[in-house]
Amino acid sequence: MPRGPGLVDAFVELADTLVVGFDVVEFMHALSGRCMELLGAQAAGLMLADQRGSLRVIATSSEQARLLELFELETEEGPCLLCFRTGATVGDSDLSRDDPRWPRLAARAREAGFQSVHALPMRLRDEIVGVLNLCYASPGPLSDHDARIGQALADIATIGLLQERAIRQRQVLAEQLQSALTSRVLIEQAKGVLAERLQITPDVAFALLRAHARRYNRQLTQLANEVIAGSTEISSADG
């Protein structure tokens, strides 16, 4: 898979999302997918600072429950947390070594089929607003090339989060971060509602939500609200 042209496409696609009708969770989800493709990772995820001192998962390249749980664990232990605290790119190139700093994570990541993980900071001036997490099925460090592209993608995630042109004030950052996190919760709730209505799993429900949002040009978060309220019907045919 050619990396050069794919990267340009990715930037163009992402730039397209920074317009009216923009939905931050959809954007983060699309970006996670792109990170996975462009960096040859088997899974990618984005986490945001919750402003209470912790990280929270905002989007992952796959909605599989096991992967979500692994990412949630990484908000508590591992390279992502260290990246968040230090602002440096942090990785574990060989999870079989059982790094004493993150024993639980190493074991769970290996169970999920990964041999290495790398975390890149989402940085806004002096502040770390989140982390881009990459999981690989084979061991090894992040190449210089991938580290540069990865950091560029993490920077795009930061910009996408703070879509306003002149975000100078911490207040706006604070407001945007909390809104994004709330949107994610809304979407999880909507996944549950849809899963029960259609008797499907939550990850399939998410795929239907996204497909419906794209097809009818709706904002994902707004759609999630409506699904929960029961004012919009989504059928399995939308998938």
Partner: protein, 232 residues
């Protein structure tokens, strides 16, 4: 300070102060040097306000103004589902945004207002308003603490009457586990109740069976457990 430690400190404070809304508001003001007063409005929708708690008359006045006028930081926070941090009400951007509230609020004595919606996703039950008589941003550490107080209030107001449970069980929902939110959505459909009620039922079941909320949520999502009008 990391999130876990911060929650631990706030919970320890609440354990000594007592779990009522009034005590929580008073504790919040006492704990945050950057805040002179706090008020809480419990709303089902912008037009229906059930109760208000306020630590002083200014708080009551600010709540009344916003509810009557239908505009203000508290109103926006509830409608938009995100905090509204108005650092200095005398700034033009706020006058533009709330043309009637701002002059009235400033006359009443407020200069900075920080409104936090009390919510878990689509479950939106009210707003916590923190304010100060002088302008200025809320420092990062105080913002972090304020968010934790808002979480605690949300948990309290979604109450099931088991006050011990409030203090013990703050973490799972506050920690934001996806499975808990998914289970909430599923129960909303299974029981045919509002999403607020669905979360209350989930928590009540967990408390009654002495299980962590997250564990019950997993059972629900895995479809090993159905709630079909069980008597909890």
């Amino acid at each position: 300070m990391d999130g876990g430690k911060r929650r631990g400190r706030v919970l320890a404070l609440l354990a000594t102060e007592g779990p009522g809304v009034d005590q929580l508001c008073a504790a919040c003001v006492g704990y945050l040097p950057g805040v002179t007063g706090a008020s809480v409005a419990v709303l089902t929708n912008p037009a229906t306000r059930h109760t208000v708690h306020a630590t002083d008359q200014l708080g009551e006045r600010l709540e009344d103004l916003q509810f009557t006028l239908g505009e203000g930081p508290c109103v926006d926070a509830f409608a938009e589902g995100g905090p509204v941090l108005a650092v200095d009400l005398s700034e033009p951007q706020y006058l533009l945004r709330w043309p009637v509230f701002v002059p009235a609020g400033v006359t009443a004595g407020a200069r900075a207002v920080f409104a936090f919606p009390l919510q878990v996703g689509a479950i939106r039950i009210g707003v916590l308003d923190l304010y100060r008589v002088t302008p200025g941003a809320l420092p990062d550490t105080e913002l972090a603490d304020a968010l934790v107080f808002a979480d605690a209030l949300t948990w309290l107001l979604l109450g099931n009457g088991h006050n011990g449970a409030v203090v013990d069980r703050l973490d799972p929902v506050a920690g934001g586990r996806a499975v808990v939110h998914q289970a909430t959505g599923m129960l909303r459909v299974q029981l045919g109740v509002s999403i607020d009620e669905a979360l209350v039922r989930l928590r009540t079941h967990a408390y009654a069976n002495d299980q962590p909320v997250e564990q019950v949520a997993r059972e629900v999502v895995a479809r090993r457990l159905r709630f079909e009008d069980m008597d909890d």
